[in-house]
């Protein structure tokens, strides 16, 4: 059986609509953020990815996730 990792996924702003605020999901080891995004199925055509953070640090879609990491996914947001 393939080794799995647990990832806590947090969604924000428009991404929460019809989805969830926070959820823990399991992925195959060496999964990237991109794999998680494909799995969640966000409407990226309507709201493209703005900011990705792993454990509070900015990350790219190619980032390989580690067990028990927290991934935060934001559309483009701003304010002041």
């Amino acid at each position: 059986m393939e080794e799995m990792i647990n990832i806590t996924i947090k969604l924000f702003a428009q991404y929460r609509e019809g989805k969830f605020k926070v959820e823990k999901r399991s992925y195959i080891k060496n999964s990237t953020i991109k794999n998680v995004l494909d799995d969640i199925g966000l409407d990226l055509g309507k709201h493209p990815i703005g900011i990705l953070m792993v454990a509070g640090r900015h990350a790219e879609e190619e980032y390989v996730l580690q067990n028990e990491q927290v991934l935060a996914i934001f559309p483009k947001v701003g304010g002041g």
């Binding site: 947090k10 924000f12 702003a13 428009q14 929460r16 605020k21 709201h47 493209p48 703005g50 900011i51 953070m53 509070g56 640090r57 900015h58 935060a72 934001f74 559309p75 483009k76 947001v77 701003g78 304010g79 002041g80």
Partner: protein, 505 residues
């Protein structure tokens, strides 16, 4: 508006929405300059501006009244559209947390904030300024067709940008609570942590859900013609109006930094502060410091409301202590955890964890001002690229470029949120310059605008040097240099020489 700040001792410029600027432009008034103080300072005065004249009259009946009373009196005296600028009782009493409030299109208030600008108006014994909204000519354009064309491009840039076109109208500025919290840069418990346990309870998403359930509105323009509509009307559980213009800085200051977990309670305080005309950042940070002084407990919103309503509004000794703002309160109580730069409270982005923003706080001639060069955009929000918020590299240059651009854009009267499309859409700023050229018949290019920004920034710096400020004032509070900030464990690690390099341009 521009003045010398009684809070920082340096220069102060402040921008606001509301109806007054547009009406003044239609009257053909470019600026209103008020010098000196009246000989008879036993009462307060009202200044009324019309197309042909300026009238000044004593208004003893308004002395000791707050903003909405003044608004009602002026609407009754003139008409519903009259533009009004006013100060509440804290402004009368020259408190350093006081703002100047401006009537918005719905008859609510927006604020010229920071630096104790309300105290300046109070010192001149001006209770309110009104501008006639009936007898004016329409704005004329040197090249109307060109203006229309450029304005279309500019509008499209704002509407198609995901921040100004979607995020802000959906969630307001308060959309920032979660992302700044995730990045560990949301100052909490008087700048002890970069995370708040209250984030989910007070965030923009929660606010938008409440508005959906209770009625109210997620969109509201703070001035006529606004196409971003980031403001909102926020109701209580019974669907009754609580407040409007419920912004990130207010919700952060009282929710994360002072620790109130109930968004409705923060809304009540916001509405009271609008009426009193006191600054969200300055007042909220002062309450955070007041906790360390032993004057109040973290999260005690009920007591904070009481202090504002009874003590600040009446100018009691405790009210004066709070009204004197965070820096002075810290000195009175011998505290070192006093988050101010140039005596002005640090806004909702922790300088240790968002270092580019920290550079803006220390170098801006305004004191700790997030709007002077919003490096959060590039440090956190991936607007205008990305520079790691926890590293020093590139931050001085980033802040300098943003401060130059902001000085230029501010001087056009444009809203700060133009910055988001401007950073990411190459058509945005040229369209703004085209609009200026078409309006005034000028021939400005992008270099002219950059040079305008540079000149403004240098002039402001020069003002401060002549007012007695030095590079020693361009520093963060000392505790940020030896105390790490959880959860990033970031520390303020810029040398003085690295900071001072900012002015080499």
């Amino acid at each position: 508006m521009g003045t010398k700040s009684p809070l920082t001792g340096g220069i102060k410029e402040s921008n606001v929405g509301g109806t007054i600027a547009g009406i003044m432009a239609k009257l053909g008034v470019k600026a209103l300059i008020i010098e000196g103080i009246p000989e008879d300072d036993s009462t307060f005065y009202h200044i009324h501006v019309t197309k042909d004249s300026v009238m000044i009259e004593a208004v003893p009946e308004l002395v000791g009244k707050n903003n909405y009373f003044v608004l009602d009196a002026m609407e009754e005296k003139y008409n519903k559209k009259v533009a009004v600028m006013t100060i509440g009782r804290p402004g009368d009493m020259k408190m350093l947390i006081s703002n100047i409030s401006v009537r918005d299109p719905k008859g609510k208030l927006r604020s010229y904030g920071r630096g104790g600008v309300g105290a300046v108006m109070g010192s001149k014994k001006i209770k309110c300024i009104t501008v006639d909204a009936e007898k004016y000519k329409e704005v004329t354009y040197a090249a109307p067709e060109k203006f229309k064309e450029a304005s279309k491009v500019f509008t499209k840039a704002l509407q198609e940008n995901p921040v100004s076109g979607e995020g802000l109208p959906s969630f307001g500025t308060n959309v920032l609570v979660n992302i700044i919290n995730e990045a560990g840069g949301l100052p909490s418990h008087n700048f002890r942590s970069g995370n708040s346990e209250n984030a989910e309870a007070i965030c923009g998403e929660t606010m938008a859900e409440n508005i959906k359930e209770r009625g109210g509105s997620t969109t509201h323009g703070c001035h006529p013609g606004c196409i971003i509509q980031c403001s909102q009307t926020y109701n209580d559980e019974a669907g009754e109006y609580l407040t409007s213009g419920f912004e990130y800085e207010m919700i952060w200051a009282f929710g994360a930094n002072f620790g109130i977990s109930d968004l409705d309670q923060i809304a009540k305080i916001d509405a009271l502060m609008d009426d009193l005309g006191v600054d969200a950042i300055e007042t909220g940070v002062t309450f955070g410091v007041a906790v360390d002084a032993g004057l109040i407990e973290f999260g005690d919103g009920k007591r904070a409301f009481e202090i504002l309503e009874k003590e600040v509004a009446n100018g009691t000794p405790l009210g004066r202590i709070i009204g004197g703002a965070a820096g002075n309160l810290g000195k009175l109580y011998g505290l070192v955890r006093v988050p101010v730069v140039k005596n002005q409270s640090i806004p909702a982005y922790e300088p240790r964890a968002i270092k580019g923003q920290g550079i803006t706080y220390v170098t801006s001639p305004m004191g700790a001002d997030h709007t002077a060069g919003y490096a959060v955009a590039t440090n956190i929000l991936n607007s205008g690229g990305h520079i790691d918020p926890l590293k020093k590299e590139g931050q001085v240059e980033l802040s300098r470029n943003l401060q130059i651009a902001s000085a230029a854009v501010d001087s056009t009267g444009m809203c700060i949120f133009v910055a988001f499309p401007a950073l990411d859409d190459p058509k945005c700023l040229p369209a703004l310059i085209d609009m200026i050229n078409a309006r005034f018949g000028t021939n400005l290019n992008e270099d002219d605008v950059t040079n305008l920004g540079k000149n403004i920034l240098k002039a402001e710096h020069e003002f401060n040097l002549k007012a007695g400020l030095t590079s020693a004032d361009d520093r963060v509070p000392e505790f940020m240099k030896y105390e790490t900030l959880p959860p990033t464990n970031a520390i303020w690690d810029f040398t003085n020489a690295e900071i001072d390099e900012f002015w080499n341009f």
